[in-house]
């Protein structure tokens, strides 16, 4: 099973803090060039996993490998870049000075101008880091993370302090960087981010692997989609026989049809019944329901 071609490998990794088990027998591997979302609720072990990957923490048991070597070796070789939570800047230095300072620590960094434009900071280059807004500071931290042109980029809840526009710009920058065949792993507790910006989603809860696959697979596996409409006084009989339906709930005059195929269910609802369908809503069409179900199951 062991393969040195993987960018990242967790081999039965556990990490305790005293009596608290933050990561519990986690095994996974990530191929080079993929963009992976590490999805989980707060306290699921996302930050611990990232710190283990960077060698900032050592596993209590098991092994973490980065391109076949130890995390410390990968860091020393300049292969890793990361945006950690609470990574501060030096307030007295300008954006340009900070980025240049960090990129010079790497053997084969990106050019300064390239970094400034990648992180959308060209206009802020001369500003002192102490005078940046939250979103601007995050962009600087992204630039610091990619300054050394790392093969593996780790982002721990990167958009936490950003407004909507900053987020859009941020993900655009991330995709630009990932497009060069680099491996990106980002932690998030927001399903839309995982859904929209990754090739693969790894769901962890309570330090354990809860699900692993593309966003579509995870949604399908959890069967988290549902069609709801106002049923009123009409009979519910026959709804469970509509195509795709796995379960029917009727409460307060509203029918909820859990389905593995909402398109087929809707088609059946309109064409195959004489019901007057009003107030139709589709829920769980994103990862949210799947995610909640997965993290609930692992408790």
């Amino acid at each position: 099973m062991r393969s040195t071609s993987n960018a990242v490998e967790f081999d039965h990794v556990s990490k305790h803090y005293g009596a608290v088990l933050a990561v519990d027998d986690l095994s996974l591997s990530i191929e080079p060039g993929t963009t992976v979302a590490l999805l989980g609720p707060n306290g699921a072990g996302k930050s611990t996993s990232i710190n283990l990957l960077l060698g900032l923490l050592l596993p209590s048991s098991g092994a973490v490998r980065v391109h076949g070597g130890t995390p410390a070796e990968a860091v020393r070789a300049g292969q890793m870049g990361a945006m950690l939570q609470n990574g501060a800047l030096i307030p007295e230095l300008t954006v340009k000075e900070l980025i240049d300072l960090v990129r010079r620590l790497y053997p084969d960094p990106l050019a300064l101008d390239e970094l400034l434009s990648l992180a959308d900071l060209t206009e802020l280059a001369g500003r002192r880091a102490g005078r940046l807004s939250g979103g601007q500071a995050q962009r600087v931290r992204f630039a610091l993370a990619v300054a050394g042109a790392p093969r593996i980029l780790l982002l721990d809840e990167p958009t936490a302090a950003m407004d909507v526009e900053s987020r859009l710009r941020f993900w655009a920058s991330m995709h630009d960087y990932a497009a060069g065949g680099r491996t990106v792993l980002f932690a998030t507790h927001q399903m839309e981010e995982a859904d929209e910006h990754s090739d693969r989603v790894i769901v962890i809860a309570r330090g354990r692997l809860a699900a692993d696959g593309t966003a579509a697979q995870i949604k399908a596996d959890a069967g988290g989609q549902a069609v709801s409409f106002v049923l009123g006084e009409q009979p519910a009989a026959g709804l469970d026989r509509l195509p795709g339906v796995t379960a029917v709930e009727v409460a307060g005059g509203t029918a909820t049809l859990h389905t593995s195929d909402p398109d087929a269910t809707l088609d059946g609802l309109y064409r195959g019944t004489a019901l007057d369908v009003r107030g139709l809503t589709l829920t769980g069409a994103d990862l949210e329901a799947a995610f909640l179900q997965l993290t609930r199951e692992s408790r």
Partner: protein, 244 residues
């Protein structure tokens, strides 16, 4: 790494608190005191304008060593900047070497400005040989204070490091006789002074400025403190940043 140390220096020079307390304050204090007592001559035959020059240069160097080490290190540790550096190829020993180099470089402005003020305003004139011995001795003699600052910065939070380094700095300045001439000390105070690195550090300066050569005891005490505090700093820094 040189670039890294340089950025650290640039950053401190932009810090207003550093400039006021460490660079301007000793010079101002020297000018005030020297203009009051400067014409008098001590028992050793050395003019007070020279004695005060050494005291104030020593005070400035002491303040600078501690201010440019303790609080910045504690802040960087706490804010996550050190972690950001830990995930770059920069080896962790290089961070501490850069911190020492930065602190040493930042001692120079206070040391040199007090000397320049003494020469220009007080007409202090020493043979070139004495300057050549005095300034490097006072420069390198700051190592124990830098080590103390780094030890505090490794052990304490940024909020605690600020007052702790201030207290240590004032205690060392007063006990070492940098603010009041040690001759006026009582017996107990003299015994305390004899134990401090700051007294022996200044004493080294007074001897060299007076052309009396070097007292081996001064060198031993300063070097001894440098080893002890350096060891403490290394231990505490490792404990603060080690991967566990």
């Amino acid at each position: 790494m040189i670039h890294f140390a340089r950025a650290d220096i640039v950053r401190m020079l932009r810090n207003r608190r550093y400039l006021v307390f460490v660079v301007a304050f000793p010079v101002a204090l020297y000018l005030i005191n020297a203009n009051i007592y400067g014409d008098e001559t001590a028992g050793s035959g050395l003019g007070y304008n020279v004695i005060l020059m050494v005291s104030m240069a020593a005070y400035g160097a002491l303040a600078s060593s501690m201010m440019s080490s303790a609080v910045p290190l504690a802040t960087e540790r706490q804010s996550g900047w050190l972690r950001q550096l830990q995930i770059t190829p920069l080896p962790s020993w290089a961070v501490i070497v850069a911190k020492i180099s930065t602190a040493l470089a930042l001692v120079l402005p206070s040391l040199l400005l007090v000397s320049v003020a003494a020469v220009v305003q007080q007409g202090v004139s020493l043979p070139p040989g004495r300057w050549v011995a005095l300034l490097p001795a006072m420069w390198l003699g700051t190592v124990p204070f830098i080590a103390l600052g780094l030890a505090l910065g490794s052990a304490l939070s940024a909020d605690a490091a600020q007052p702790a380094s201030m207290v240590c700095m004032f205690a060392l300045a007063i006990a070492g006789g940098l603010w009041f001439p040690p001759e006026i000390f009582g017996a107990t105070m003299k015994t305390v002074a004899e134990l401090t690195p700051s007294f022996h550090y200044a004493s080294l300066g007074w001897s060299l400025a007076g052309g009396h050569g070097v007292d081996a005891m001064d060198v031993l005490v300063v070097a001894g403190w440098a080893v002890v505090l350096g060891g403490a700093a290394a231990y505490l820094y490792r404990r603060a940043t080690v991967r566990g």
